[in-house]
């Protein structure tokens, strides 16, 4: 045998120990600390792309595109609140904190949402005057940490969102590293400057649904029963969590899937805790229907909404509105390829930059550095967000008309089929070309 001429096999990367996994093992071995990052899940998950709409043909009658109206407005908080919220579009801006975001970014969110006729939401750390001033409709988050929580801001809000969890880290607290605890952030949160801000994973003064009911009553008493009370949960056991939120008196339930973003948490949490939003909507809607509360307690879903098709699919599955977070930041200018050279200096690349906790965002969005933050023009960024919200709405309307609907809320599960067995089972719609819905009847 001519040993010198035996063909050599090509080097082969392990599918299990792929280059990213290997790099993470090496990083962990060098530092002893788990990776903390922002943004949402990065691996492929079952998502709205695995569903398709059945446009109208003979058995259904479409609406004339761009001529026959397809309404988009939504009422939120019609169960108990004296002053429910009426939005022009069913796309809202999810809670993101001043602290995780710069003041300019928060202002831009307010400007964009206001121009589009929808709401913004505060986050951990309280309400800023800029945000209240720019947001026509502002939802005030009531979080476990209660950083910056005060009754004056509670009364200034248009709605109150009791945050129990978020999709990126259901069951987890927060960790905003000290780099972003500037003088102003520290003052708002009653913390020393520069220390790591730890957020509790549980509310300090209630422990279960019976307590939550009393807590919600207190918030209503303080605000004279005027404002809608939202309850936000990370998607894990949506049937039971939504049922208990309704039992506790929520006007609106916000359900955040695992593709939802975060300012900063453990990578392992982002990628391995929670369930995709695709799998969470139908059990949530089922809970509302079983209680006779569908459309009476409104459902907002979030976690990876990117385009008008996602909006339309979420509504067709039974949601009343959606919320966007990561997509809104991209619309403002986050991870813009024009900043590629600067992202590379940070060891990343445009589209993958997620070290939001370090506060060095070249786009001036996820930072408290005054020089970086000043790069973001709130007016121009707000305009981009308004444009994006308009596109989401136009796209959803186009699909709805094709399905013969005169309001986005008239979309229904019967307008959908699934491309994969997994999506069919999760969304409880038939596999395309069949009448088969795998696993129907169980949660």
């Amino acid at each position: 045998m001519d040993l010198a001429n035996i063909p050599q096999t090509l080097p082969r990367q392990s599918a299990t120990f792929d280059p990213h996994t290997l790099s993470e093992i090496r990083r962990a071995a060098a530092t002893g600390i788990y990776d903390i990052r922002g943004a949402g899940t990065k691996r492929a998950l079952p998502h709205f792309d695995d569903l398709l709409f059945l446009g109208a043909s003979i058995s259904r009658y479409p609406l004339e595109g761009y001529r026959e109206k397809c309404a988009t407005d939504v009422w939120l908080g019609t169960r108990f609140a004296k002053k429910p919220i009426h939005l022009k579009i069913p796309v809202t801006i999810a809670g993101m904190s001043f602290g995780s975001l710069s003041a300019q970014a928060k202002e831009a969110l307010g400007r964009g949402a206001g121009a589009a006729g929808t709401s913004t939401t505060t986050g951990d750390g309280g309400m800023t005057p800029e945000e209240r001033g720019q947001s026509k409709t502002l939802v005030y988050q009531y979080l476990p940490s209660r950083y910056g929580m005060n009754p004056d801001d509670l009364r200034k809000a248009d709605a109150i969102e009791v945050v129990i969890g978020q999709g990126a880290k259901p069951g987890g607290g927060g960790m905003l590293l000290g780099q972003k605890i500037s003088d102003r952030v520290a003052a708002m949160r009653n913390l020393p400057k520069g220390i790591d801000q730890r957020s509790a994973c549980r509310h300090p003064d209630w422990t279960g649904p019976d307590d939550l009911e009393i807590k919600i009553e207190e918030l209503r008493e303080i605000t004279d029963w005027e404002k809608p009370i939202y309850v936000k949960v990370g998607a894990t056991r949506p049937y039971y969590d939504v049922a208990l939120a309704v039992k506790s008196g929520a006007d609106v339930v916000v359900l955040d899937g695992m593709q939802g973003g975060t300012a900063a948490t453990q990578d392992v949490f982002i990628e391995h805790v929670g369930i995709p939003i695709l799998s969470a909507i139908r059990p949530a809607v089922q809970a509302l229907q079983d209680l006779g509360m569908h459309r009476k307690v409104q459902l907002i879903v979030s976690g990876g909404i990117r385009n008008g098709a996602d909006v339309a699919k979420a509504l067709a599955l039974g949601a009343d509105a959606v919320a966007i977070g990561t997509a809104a930041l991209v619309a403002l200018g986050d991870n813009d390829p024009a900043l590629e050279a600067e992202y590379q200096k940070l060891g990343s690349t445009a589209g993958a930059y997620d070290d939001w906790q370090e506060g060095r965002d070249p786009a001036g969005i996820t930072t408290q550095d005054p020089e970086l933050a000043a790069r973001l023009d709130p007016v121009a960024a707000g305009r981009r967000l308004a444009n994006y919200l308009a596109v989401l709405t136009l796209e959803a309307q186009t699909i709805a008309r094709a399905c013969g609907k005169s309001h986005l809320h008239n979309l229904e599960p019967e307008d959908l089929v699934a491309l994969t067995i997994e999506a069919a089972a999760m969304a409880r719609v038939p596999l395309a070309g069949t009448g088969w819905i795998p696993g129907q009847g169980t949660f």
Partner: protein, 233 residues
């Protein structure tokens, strides 16, 4: 004060909603500064969200979140108080003449909370500037993640006092069953004695001496995340 000087709301005949609405409607310069709530019957959310310098006496036991988010007002509970009394208080004074349940003064930013009896678990949890004086003892996990303010306890403290504490100051006269992560005993310096004197006087305890207390606070080892402290998280 003569009874005729009081605005009396009898919860046997009025609703809690009516009580809170009347209290919310008061102007900052109101002359109706004395209120008495009869037959509270342990109802929840009594006298919450007040924002005027009035005195509200609750003639009996109160349920959850009594005096929640109080600003300016003085609220006296002539009985026991349920979970979360004076939660997130901003200013003013709340005086519980009996015992308090869990999470008394939780997340509160300011004002003074005085509890004549004992307080249960998590007293002063996540406190953010409130002063709390408990004449009896407090339960476990009190002042967890306490950020600022003072917690004064004349009796004993339960397990894990001051766990994950930031800059709140804890003063205990009796025994502490155990200290939580990052909480240590610290020197009782003159400025702390002066703070204690002021708080004891405000709580009606002129005969109790600051020297009788020990001070506890943060070792600050958890202020920046480090793997060598991982066992404490």
């Amino acid at each position: 004060m003569a009874p005729s000087d009081y605005n009396v709301v009898d919860l046997a005949t009025s609703t809690k909603r009516e009580l809170n609405q009347q209290l919310h409607a008061l102007a900052a310069n109101t002359n109706e500064t004395l209120w008495r709530v009869e037959n509270p019957q342990g109802q929840h959310a009594l006298a919450v969200g007040l924002d005027s310098p009035v005195t509200v006496e609750i003639a009996g036991h109160a349920g959850y979140y009594c005096a929640g988010m109080n600003k300016q007002a003085t609220i006296v509970v002539e009985g026991n108080a349920g979970v979360g009394v004076a939660e997130n208080m901003m200013s003013g004074k709340v005086h519980v003449k009996g015992d308090a349940s869990q999470s008394a003064g939780a997340t509160a930013h300011g004002g003074l909370l005085v509890i004549d009896g004992d307080a249960s678990a998590r007293c002063g949890i996540s406190m953010k500037g409130i002063d709390i004086v408990v004449k009896g003892s407090i339960g476990p996990m009190s002042a967890f993640m306490g950020q600022s303010g003072n917690l004064v306890v004349l009796g004993d403290a339960g397990d894990a006092l001051g766990d994950s504490i930031y800059e709140a100051k804890l003063f205990v006269r009796g025994k502490v069953k155990s200290l939580g992560a990052d909480c240590i005993e610290k020197d009782l310096r003159d400025e702390h004695k002066a703070d204690l004197r002021r708080l004891l006087d405000e709580a009606g305890l002129p005969d109790v001496q600051p020297d009788e207390f020990k001070r506890y606070g943060s070792a600050r080892t958890l202020y920046n995340f480090h793997v060598d402290n991982a066992a404490a998280y």
